[in-house]
Amino acid sequence: MTEHAAPLLAVDGLTMRFGGLTAVDDVGFAARAGEITAVIGPNGAGKTTVFNCITGFYRPSAGRLWLTRADGARIALERLGGERVASRARVARTFQNIRLFAGMTVLENLLVAQHNRLMAASGFGLLALLGTRGYRAAERAAIERARLWLDRIGLIERADDPAGALPYGAQRRLEIARAMCTEPVLLCLDEPAAGLNPRETEALAALLHDIRASGCSLLLIEHDMGLVMRISDHIIVLDHGRKISDGTPAAVRADPAVISAYLGDEDEDEAESGA
């Protein structure tokens, strides 16, 4: 079934160099629509760099990033760059070290995420200054959407608290909800389970399944192998900036290249100590 699904995101020959350091070297993979794709690898493998390229925070040194929209049109993400990856291509992301608007309330965080839609409804700020009916309806709809997500992540009680006052696990969930309020086609999660306890991780897995069921595809970086193996449809393994494996969880788990990358084999140890 999944073999025939159109690749939502096609990464081809992605290379990212910082001065003399090649952080990502000729990486290519596909993330299919309706799937959870995981990118794993040891520390420093270049996972976050790949993420930053996809989400427009870095401009890749080389390579193409194609996003296929529902109507079949293809968007070159590396040409969009910046915030347009989020606003035009509808690729949302979260951050490894949570980036909420700490001094704004939980509800405000979710409304800021709907900025572009509200701005258009507010006549770019001018009509809404006069309080037109169209804008008020749009704002009600935005609050309704926020309320829906708050219900889903179990934070409706804390809607009027500052986001910075939430416990760590709740902040993680809120950041995901905030990204989802932009109505993305692809949600990129950078280590969503980092720092969560087992129960919170369980709830996260359920939330991610929910999101996939609602039609949004997911791409995630994760170190919690239990979680990755359980929820992913497809796994890409990076090591030292190169892709070393690509396939289903079962195939990746059995791949000798992956095992040696994680556990280290003697050849590699020698090569590293020699370098």
Partner: protein, 421 residues
């Protein structure tokens, strides 16, 4: 023992500072100025510092550390409750002010309100969007000169020129903002500072247009629906209402003009805060990278903050020009930018009430204590230091949420970011 040593050290620093500043007084002597030493006064000041430092030590020892932290939320709650009735009281007082006091105090109130308006305008840029702008006076100057020049060359009145002056200032805000807003933090501050100076230097040297250091005089006064102030012939205010003309009428009218303009500024900024644009400004102050990940165009959002701030600066400038009837580059020095910024910071970034209070204290206070001459600055500096120690985030440091499902609760200053430009 450490207490004694620290107190002695503080006293030594105080001696070094006060000896040249206070200790030497210039008196007219034979053939010029002579220096008269004032060892007594220096001794008193140094002694005060010595025992003050000892007192601080004693207080710290008597009151354990946790007590300090507990004071903060209580203080915040008090100011919040105070704000609930203080703001309406201030508005009511402002509305009837000219009926209560004489000419001097109405004039002073006009000055204070001009700074309140400037503070509210800058608050959009610094308080909401978190962009440190040290050249705000540039937009004030553009507004003032725009009105002066348009009135001079076209003969249009104040009310026609006011929006034009504001829009011109906003246009300059965008023009400046475009190249500058790529910079962040300290770099942004330096470039805006330079821009403020550039505008002043251009005004000073473009003699054929601006009159250079001589400025522009004879700027028309505002009219009330076409009624002039001054004189009692038909067509003037006094003539129309069959009153005897008095200069007080014009001053009271000016007072209500600036009060109206300030209210307008306040209403627009309060409204903007509750709109997606204002929320995006605050989000930008909190976390620029997160904004980008949500598809918010950062440059455009910063530019709008700059433009709206400049717009109100321009309005205030036009009012300044019409009130003085004369503009010259001297009125637009860096000191003005610094004063307005101090008002915003002292008031509490993003707080409308705080800015108004700070403007009253700073401008009104400075005027009232004019007779103390040089000591005024000393007291002023001391007040700033005390403020920064006791309330580092300004008079009103809590943030009111722009939207809430239930009853909105104040957000403490420890949560709210100040922006990195």
């Amino acid at each position: 023992m450490t207490a004694l040593r620290e107190a002695a050290l503080s006293a030594l620093v105080a001696l070094g500072l006060f000896a040249p500043i206070v200790g030497l007084r210039t008196v007219p002597g034979e053939g010029g100025l002579a220096l008269a030493p004032q060892p007594g006064l220096v001794g008193v000041l140094v002694g005060l510092v010595f025992f003050g430092r000892l007192g601080v030590h004693l207080r710290d020892r008597l009151r354990p550390a946790p007590g300090r932290a507990a004071v903060r939320p209580r203080l915040a709650a008090t100011t919040a409750r105070l704000g609930a009735w203080l703001a309406p009281a201030l508005i009511a007082l402002a509305l009837i002010w000219p009926a209560l006091v004489g000419r001097y105090y109405v004039d002073l109130a006009i000055l204070v309100l001009t700074y309140v308006m400037l503070g509210w305008g800058l608050n959009i840029v610094v308080g909401l969007a978190g962009l440190l702008d040290l050249g705000y006076v540039a937009f004030y100057a553009v507004g003032a000169y725009a009105y002066a020049l348009i009135a001079q060359f076209t003969g249009l009145g104040f009310w026609t020129c006011l929006p034009m002056a504001g829009l011109l200032a906003a246009l300059w805000g965008v023009t400046l903002g475009f190249p500058v807003l790529r910079l962040r933090g300290d770099y942004l501050a330096i470039v805006t500072l330079a821009f403020g100076e550039i505008i002043r230097v251009v005004l000073l040297n473009w003699v054929s247009l601006t009159g250079g250091p001589n400025g522009i005089s004879g700027i028309p006064r505002p009219t009330l629906f076409g009624l002039r102030f001054g004189g009692d012939e038909p067509g003037s205010f006094a003539g129309f209402f069959h009153l005897t003309s008095s200069p007080m009428q014009r001053i009271v009218f000016l007072y209500y003009v600036i009060l109206g303009l300030a209210f307008f500024t306040n209403l627009v900024s309060l409204r903007l805060r509750r709109l997606p644009l204002g929320r995006a400004w605050e989000a930008l102050r909190e976390d620029e990278i997160a904004c980008r990940s949500l598809g918010i165009n950062i440059t455009r959002t910063k530019l709008t903050a700059f433009a709206v701030g400049a717009l109100f600066g321009g309005f205030a400038g036009a009012f300044f020009a019409t009130r003085q009837g004369f503009v010259s580059p001297e009125s637009f020095t860096f000191m003005e930018s610094a004063t307005v910024l101090a008002i915003v910071v002292l008031g509490g970034l993003g707080s409308q009430l705080g800015v108004a209070l700070a403007a009253i204290v700073m401008i009104g206070g400075a005027e009232l204590f004019r007779e103390f001459a040089d000591y005024r600055m000393l007291v002023f500096g001391l007040a700033l230091v005390v403020m920064m120690v006791l309330r580092p985030r300004g008079l009103v440091s809590t943030r009111t949420p722009s939207v809430a499902l239930g009853t909105p609760r104040m957000i403490g200053a420890d949560m709210v970011a100040q922006g990195r430009g």
